[in-house]
Amino acid sequence: MNRFWLFGVIVLTGLWLGGCDGGPEREAVREYAAVATPDDPELAETYERSCKSCHARSGSGAPLTGDAVVWTRLIENKGMERLIEHTIHGYRGMPPMGHCMDCDVEDFGRLIGFMARGPQE
């Protein structure tokens, strides 16, 4: 058996051994993210035209607004300063400035603070 076909056998074995896709969905978080908006009208206006397009939509890859478990872990592991730095410079799928071209550091901090809060907070 040449090397190429040997790899073919490994492919098939690997695929056969592979697990199945799936996992529990958190419907409540998704529902909250889709409708949540800051109480402060100025912050709400900024959120609506920037963060919301990704952070309110499940499947975008961005942590959902109000998903306190994920945000708490992010803030604990990275720290607020680093999260703001990622926002300014972009990070993986997150575009630089998070779609808010006129935001300053304070705005980004307030927006992250809002998104990190769960529905009951």
């Binding site: 190429f4 790899f7 073919g8 490994i10 492919v11 690997g14 695929l15 051994l17 592979g18 697990g19 199945c20 896709d21 206006e45 035209r49 920037s50 397009s53 990704c54 939509r57 499947g59 975008s60 890859g61 961005a62 300014i88 410079h89 972009g90 993986r92 799928g93 575009p95 630089p96 400035m97 779609h99 808010c100 071209m101 006129d102 300053d104 550091v105």
Partner: protein
Amino acid sequence: MISRRQLLKFAAALPVVKLAGAGAPIKQARAAEATARPASNVIPWRNWSGLQVAHPRQRVAPASIEDLQQLVAEASGGVVRPVGAGHSFTPLMNTDDVLLSLDRIQGLVDYDNENHTAVMEAGTRLYNAGELLDEVGQAFPNMPDIAEQSLAGAFGTATHGTGAGLGCMPVYVNGLELITADGERVYCDADTRPDLFQAARVNLGALGVLSRVHLQNRPSYRLERTLEWQPIEEILAEADALADRHRNFEFFYIPFSGWGFMDRQDITDAEIRLSEDHTDQNEGVYTLQSLRDWLGWSSRLRGFAMDMYMRRLPAEHTVLPSWQTYTHTRAVRFNEMEYHLPREEGLKAFREIREVLEKNFPEVFFPFEVRWVQADDIWLSPFYRRDCISIAVHRYYDEDHTAFFKAVEPIFRRYGGRPHWGKLHSLGPQELAALYPHWDDFLEVRQAMDPEGRFLNTYLRELFGV
């Protein structure tokens, strides 16, 4: 069916021989750039991909057209550049002076359902524009696939969707409103200031700030969409005929796989329907990246794995309102080069590009995108008086694109291609003047509109040769 996770598990089980340098150069460049930042508290502005960086001393987002007029008129010297989503890959928006966001000037201003026309604020993002029009029973005749772009950016750079019988976005505009360098508000259409209208339909943000667009729409409609995987040679054999047969047709090619998928869309009255076998294109790109990382050392093995996976992928059928079918959020960032080629030459160029890539660039994993666009008569439209096939190549945002793009650009140029204004290219004023019969006419209008060059950054000065 073989799942994406199963495919990745297989790849991860193989010996780790990652491609050397697949992502290193650009990261080093970014680190150097970060240390070269000004010491002040100025927040850098970057475009969507992160490739372009500038340090505007002022970033402003006026809340109304009147505020916009005042801001432009009173901006104290320096270059003013309007910005939407920052989705251009070229340095069109870069300025260290005044960056002007139109994000707070969005919305539907007026509409007329008898003639299917509407007036919209130019800062409106496409995903909002499509929904707002749908609410009053109208729709764009065609749309591009990036949802985040602003109307101003889409019109300014001749952004396009796909459809052999459909033009780029600026084709479907009846009139435009701009804010000039001294803050004046001007309107133009085919009868009122016709030269300005011709220049402003594709304007690169160089004539003024586009504030409102008067759209020629059509009644809202649904599209039935079919995504189907096929060997690339089979796609190439029928692609041009399918482009004529379907209202919207395009295909993607997955490098090193021998496979691509076709995207066909036609107007329908059928009920809304979502596909049960939906492929997330963002996740798909990460899958291709992982396969590159783990199997890139053997193009043959990489191709074998992808072939096994792709030949089992089912077709997807959806029925959705047109604006939801056309536009998508791209959650995987990239840099892009796209050229628009004479329709009869496009697929020949595609074959050459594929050959160059698969021979010399194993690190590339992003799909090619191939679209059809109808000819128009707009001065700086890349589709000026010729039907085109548009071919786009991409590289992941965090990996160096330069060698690959440098290798394929001569192929695009040899077939008479014109570059997309918002995507990477190396052409200067002499080459562009040869490609655009109305190049000098545009420059004349630009000079009259902005004699002091307040909207010209360094890149635009070099591009125009002024």
